[in-house]
Structures are given as structure tokens and as C-alpha cells.
Amino acid sequence: MTAEQIIFLLTGVLVLGSAFMVVTVRNLLHAALWLVASLFGVAVLYAILQANFLAVVQVVIYIGAIAILFIFAVMLTRRQLLESGRQTRSSWWIPALLGLLILIGLVSLILSVPGLDRTASAMPVGLDTVQALGTALVSPDAYVLPFEVASVLMLAALVGAVYVASVDKK
């Protein structure tokens, strides 16, 4: 077992363990903080995969913005939080069973497809992935349309969210 595999396994334990805490802890603020830990682990995975830009963006967007938004929302709706009753449905075992079944199905599917146990080839020398990503995102024969549509999507999200969340002026 190489050092890289050990780091991967540790990160995997961090990601999955934190994710498990996210869906099980009672205190919602703790759930949000566990989400941060889990997403940080995903950023480490991106770093191992040499996707530098995505690793950093994962921290900037998920931890710096989305997690903060979650924490704000938890605090604004906190009364519910104080009721320390059950946070899960009474029939929680059905989704648990469903999740387990899907997991077993997916894993057996992954293991049955030939060629997926490959290891990665070395990165092409001299490839600046950030620059290549930028080129892919702006060249017309690549992903310029999704890029601009993402902008429109964000505009729609902003308009919609601001409209919905705006304080009623009575």
C-alpha cells in the first residue's frame, strides 16, 4: 500500500464519516459543520486528482459561501432547532434500506464493468489545467454555451431567491 493510497483512505473515512454525521446528528448547526468537514474532504480528493482549480473552488464556494448560507438559514429558523425531538421520520428504516440496496447495486455494477480498476496515467507534461479549463469554457466549439447559461441560471436564482425571501412590506 502506497502513501497515496493511505492518504486516500484517510480522506475517504473523513468524507464518509462526516457525511454520516450530517444525516444523523440532531443539532442542525452541527450537521452544517459536519457538512463542511465532508466537503473539505472532497476538496482534498480533488487535490489528489490534480484538479487544482476545483479543489480551491470547492473550498471557496462550498465552505466560504454555501455552508455560511446554511448556517444563516439554520439560525434564522432556529426555533425548530430548540425542539429537541426526533429529527428523522418514524419510518427511517425504509430510506436506510433503500440507500443500502442502491449502494450494493452500484458497487456490484462498478466491480462488474471491466477496465474500471485502471490507475491513472501521468499528467501530460506542460498542461496547465486551469488555462485549459478556461479555454474550454470560452471556446465556441467547447463549453461556452453552458458557461453563459450558468450565468443566466445564477441570475434566475438570484432574482427568484431575492423575490421569495424579500420581506413583505405591509
Binding site: A55, V56, V57, V59, I63, A65, I68, V130
Partner: protein, 409 residues
């Protein structure tokens, strides 16, 4: 290669030689070398931090016409050491009802988020931790961890002032992060790289402060806001919410928030030097002259860098101790209605002009970039002046006593 022109490699090669002669595997030797380098870097940062406590107290004393610490050691130089001893041996109080784990993680995270910045800070052309090709975003990412630390501290203290302070601080930090990120695009465009070292090298002939003075100004303002320093220090407004998010922290835990803030301020001074004043270099080509080649020695470069960073830090202190605190509505309005649109204009201006003017002779290019910035600044001031005139005119209207004025909050 000698010790003087590449100290890190020199020591690294020597240490690797020693370690491999002890039959240590090469990979382990590399990791050990990294750890040694990191420890040296962090110890340097921490020593600097202790020095900054003294600098901050001395400078604020001069601004306020006092002497500052002057009893312990010559010029009070030992004062920060005494401060640290005091903080360590103080009783550490955890408030009742605090969320203990989150409460204890927060100060560590706050300090770590600042220390992490030093991983990519190039002190000289050969003295730096790592040259990341996404360096600029790495800075923003480390800032995100700092934001999280503040909200954790405020929430876990079980104190309404702490929570309010944290909310103010976080809304302050996230708001001013937008002009900061947008303006970081300007050095990216000008240097055509996101690596911090690459940006430094791109300024060997011309500082970006001259190519885009407005970007420098916006960066300075948003850096001050990001630090939560006056005039954006609503988070600790003593008269309203006592001390902000770290009100319940005592002893060394408070010490880390304080030390983290000082080191953060200095580090932002350093980043200002890197993005706009050429970092460790930027001598306008003077270093190529025969009698000035000593400017290329790494230790001289490191001194130059620290001097520039200290200048940035001093400007931040100057603002802090001269400008009064502003109101939260003013603060947010200033950001969203002024800084964000202005930074977008500067960004578009840089993107277009850098593309159009790059073919011209270099003096025309510099003149065009500088001139366009001055023009934008002038237009902005004119708009503000017209707006102010309108406001004043609206305010001058005589108030008839019959009409009850609406409550002005």
C-alpha cells in the same frame, strides 16, 4: 549554486545528502525536508507576529500622542513576551451553556486560516513555500476558513453579543469578499497567471499599482473590511456589543484571535505588495545595472518584501486609528452600491484595454492603462459629487412644523 543565491535548495540538498547517507528512503527524506521547511516558515511567521504586537502598540501610541509600552526591555521590546506569558497563565473560562467542542475549535481554526496563507507567500525569488498555479484563489479559500471560524466562535459562546458580533462580522467579510475577488482578477489578467510568484515576476518592469491604481485602492479597502478593522470594525463595537464574537474568550484562546488578526493584517500588507508593488522584486529593471545586482540576493529581496509589507501594514494601521467606525447600513451600501459596480468597471476596463493596447509601445500601454484608471476615478467622483449635491438640496428644503417628520432612525 551557493547558500547566498538559493538558500533553500542549498540547505535542502545538504540535508538530503545527510539523510540519504543514513540510508533513509528518498521519499521520507523529502517529507522530512518539507516538515523542516514548514516549521521554519511558521516559526518565522510567529516571531514576526510577536514583533507585530509591539509594532502595533507603539504605532497606535504615536498616533494617539502617547508613548506606548516602554517599561519592559529597551523601548518596551520585551512587552509582547510578557503579554504572551500573561495570556498563557490566565485562567481559561468556558462559559456555561457553551458548545465546548466548537468553542475550542474556533480559535485554532482562526489562527490556522492565517498561518495557511504563509504557504504561498514568496519572501524572495528562491524563498517560498510552494508556487501554486491557483494561488490567488487559495488566498480566498483560506479566508473562507477564517469566516467559518468566526461564525463558530460567535455561535458556540452562547452569548447574544457574541452571536450578533459574529453575524455582523460575517456579513461584513462576505460582502467585501466580492470586490476583493473581482479585483484579484485584475492582476490575473495583467500577469496572465494566478500564481503569486508569477504575478511578482510579471511586475519586474512595471508595478501594477501604476497600471491600475483604482484596483489597488479597492483592494486596500476590501482588505481592511475583510480584516474587520476600523472603520469596518462593527463586529467589536464596544459601546453596542462589547467586543464582538470573541467576547467570551479568555487567555490564550483570545490570544489566538488577536494574534491571528495582527498576522492577517501584515499578510494582507504583504499581498498588497505582491499584487501591486512588485513583491520582493519590482525594481523597474534597475537590478540589471552592474552596480545594483546585489538587489537579486534572496536575503535582500526578503528584506525588500518585508519592508513593502510593513508599509502596507502601516497604511492599514493608519486608516484604523484615524477613521471612525461607520454604521452597518452605510457599510453594506458602500460595498454593494459603490465598490462592486466600480470594481466591475475596473475589471472590464482592464480586460479590454489590456487586449487592445498590448500591441502598442510599452510607454503608450502604461499611459493608456494609467490614464483610463484616472478617467474612471474622475467620473466616479463627479457622479458622487452630483449625487451629494442632490442629497443636500433635498435636505435643504424647509421643514414645516405642521408636517410631522417621519421618524429618522
Amino acid at each position: 549554486m551557493t547558500f547566498w543565491n538559493n538558500p533553500i535548495n542549498f540547505i535542502g540538498n545538504w540535508l538530503t545528502g545527510v539523510l540519504t547517507s543514513w540510508h533513509m528512503p528518498a521519499a521520507l527524506a523529502t517529507i522530512l525536508l518539507y516538515i523542516v521547511g514548514i516549521v521554519v516558515m511558521i516559526i518565522f511567521a510567529m516571531t514576526l507576529d510577536i514583533g507585530l504586537v509591539w509594532v502595533e502598540r507603539k504605532v497606535v501610541a504615536r498616533f494617539q500622542d502617547r508613548l506606548g509600552p516602554n517599561r519592559i526591555g529597551p523601548f518596551g521590546l520585551i512587552q509582547p513576551v510578557a503579554d504572551i506569558i500573561k495570556m498563557v497563565i490566565k485562567e481559561d473560562i468556558t462559559p456555561a451553556g457553551a458548545d465546548k467542542i466548537v468553542y475550542n475549535i474556533a480559535p485554532v481554526l482562526a489562527a490556522t486560516s492565517v498561518i495557511l496563507l504563509w504557504a504561498i507567500l514568496p519572501l524572495a525569488s528562491t524563498i517560498y513555500g510552494v508556487d501554486l498555479n491557483v494561488g490567488l484563489l487559495y488566498i480566498v479559500a483560506a479566508g473562507a476558513l477564517g469566516t467559518l471560524a468566526i461564525i463558530m466562535a460567535g455561535w458556540s459562546s452562547n452569548n447574544k453579543y457574541a452571536l450578533l458580533g459574529a453575524f455582523r462580522m460575517v456579513s461584513n467579510m462576505i460582502s467585501y469578499e466580492i470586490p476583493m475577488v473581482i479585483i484579484l482578477l485584475v492582476p490575473t489578467i495583467l500577469a496572465n497567471t494566478m500564481s503569486v510568484k508569477g504575478i511578482t515576476q510579471a511586475q519586474s518592469g512595471m508595478w501594477f499599482a501604476i497600471l491600475s491604481p483604482l484596483a489597488l485602492l479597492i483592494f486596500l479597502i476590501s482588505a481592511i473590511a475583510e480584516l474587520g478593522r476600523s472603520p469596518f470594525d462593527l463586529n467589536e463595537a464596544e459601546s453596542e456589543i462589547v467586543a464582538g464574537f470573541h467576547i467570551e474568550y479568555t487567555g490564550m484562546k483570545f490570544g489566538w484571535f488577536y494574534a491571528g488578526e495582527l498576522l492577517h493584517a501584515f499578510t494582507f500588507g504583504g499581498f498588497m505588495a505582491i499584487f501591486f508593488f512588485g513583491g520582493y522584486g519590482g525594481f523597474f529593471g534597475l537590478e540589471k545595472l552592474g552596480f545594483l545586482t546585489w538587489l537579486n540576493i534572496p536575503f535582500v529581496q526578503a528584506l525588500v518584501f518585508i519592508a513593502k509589507a510593513m508599509f502596507g501594514y502601516w497604511v492599514i494601521m493608519w486608516v484604523k486609528y484615524s477613521v471612525p467606525r461607520i454604521r452597518i447600513d452605510h457599510m453594506l451600501a458602500f460595498n454593494w452600491k459603490f465598490l462592486v459596480p466600480l470594481s466591475l468597471v475596473v475589471l472590464v476596463n482592464t480586460a479590454v484595454l489590456n487586449k487592445v493596447l498590448i500591441t502598442l509601445p510599452s510607454w503608450l500601454y502604461v499611459l493608456g492603462m494609467f490614464g483610463s484608471n484616472i478617467l474612471i476615478g474622475w467620473v466616479t467622483i463627479e457622479i458622487l459629487r452630483a449625487y451629494g449635491r442632490k442629497q443636500r438640496k433635498a435636505g435643504e428644503k424647509p421643514i414645516s412644523p405642521a408636517q410631522p417628520q417621519e421618524q429618522v432612525a
